[in-house]
Symmetry: D2
């Protein structure tokens, strides 16, 4: 059950299915544009979860701490999702290294591309200062597995 | 996949598992109180979906139309959910009849009761006026199946 | 400007005006039911702010700390708000004392009552344990002023 | 009151003040990244409102209808906002013409730049098909006034 909820690792990243509910729509009849960022963030969080990287957890990255902060987003809104749709959120690593992750993400529904996004994420320590991604963590992105 | 996403019918109603993400929390460190209403609404929507009652769909309830509007809620907040938690939303019919549904809902996590809610829902037609729940629809609540 | 943003103390409580935006609506064409809880919470936060009680601030309530947690809500949804509406959120103290606040709140638009709510709030210390409301804080609710 | 709520037209666009509430934050302690898009959208909506262009209203753009849809966003997240902050949303027209608006937006707090955004918006008719912006509407962006 929990596995299903967290999506699955793929050859080049991660895929997650999510339902569109009332809360996601607005009076124009389709999904409110900012809600796609929620779906994208769920995809990133579950990608990290499947790689064994818990954002909410303590102890990650040793004493220094390790957290991820969105620094830049480029978003193409190509087609809208609607109430009751099941959307597929795909996440792949475009570049992983140093103090930065660049992820490419898409949201699709029924084979149709809805949203395309490139997300730049800063790697920070427990006090919010830039830090290098630990080697064992960046290795998980390269291997596409939690170890 | 789609079945998993919609939860499952139970002996006396419906159960749905959902993940707590960043979006659901606030700076106090736990889930923002209004977000529990989103989880409850997802539970109700998927309960109706599993009973074959699509809220977004046209044609339901014949020419007159059929929709559901929340009229009253009583909510007990007993314990908070946190980032990464998986919560279980349970929905049962307390009373179904006339132009009204009364549903009892709970949100639990790891066997702990977090939220208890009684939700009164008005049955309305396509123009938002009260109407009786069609017999074939109320029969689905009674039988706990879509037919 | 900041004063305008925080609403105003009234003879028996507090009043705040807020605009309904896209984000507040859903595909049914009116405001999503859970969003009214956001408006109510903005009203409570600004009521406390006008009484000189900052929830986000440190130092409140001495070393022990002081925070407020919603424990129970009873909500009547009487009429919907729509995109572009300006709503008035009114908050009054029904009962203040011990380790509990009970607040009565309404949301109105153009003189029409939309939502009526009774909200029970637990007073807790910095570790989330029940504590008595300090006398100087409960006196502010009684006097309706920050001192 | 209503004027205050809608912000003010400036020499080159529009400015709106908004408060950060509980709902805007997440467990990391600062504002959830997707919430900045809500603030930006409130700024755009009130810019149009101050120019006399009501998105929710009927009759705009003649029989053909007129609506605005976000097509592309580029977002720089430079510093976070926190609970209780008052943020200033500034919107200026970078390019207005044909079937497209390009708006530059910033969110600042206490003189510090938090967010920088370029937003491309498609002009569509009542059926969601591209249409030219009517001359009298584009003239309002040029003059910075509702007539």
């Amino acid at each position: 059950m929990s596995d299903e909820l967290s999506g699955t690792l793929t050859a080049d990243g991660h895929r997650l299915s999510q339902r569109v509910y009332y809360e996601d729509t607005d009076f124009s009849g389709v999904v409110y544009h900012a809600r796609y960022l929620h779906f994208l963030e769920r995809g990133r969080t579950d990608y990290l979860r499947c790689l064994g990287i818990q954002q909410g957890g303590a102890g990650l990255g040793g004493e220094e701490g390790l957290a991820f902060v969105v620094r830049h987003m480029e978003l193409d809104f190509q087609a809208p999702a609607r109430m009751d749709d099941v959307v597929e959120i795909s996440t792949t690593s475009y570049r992983v290294g140093g103090a930065k992750l660049v992820l490419d993400q898409t949201i699709e529904s029924g084979g149709l591309l809805l949203i395309q996004a490139r997300v730049t994420i800063a790697v920070v320590n427990g006090r919010g200062r830039p830090r290098r991604l630990p080697d064992d963590v960046s290795a998980r992105f390269a291997s596409g597995s939690p170890s």
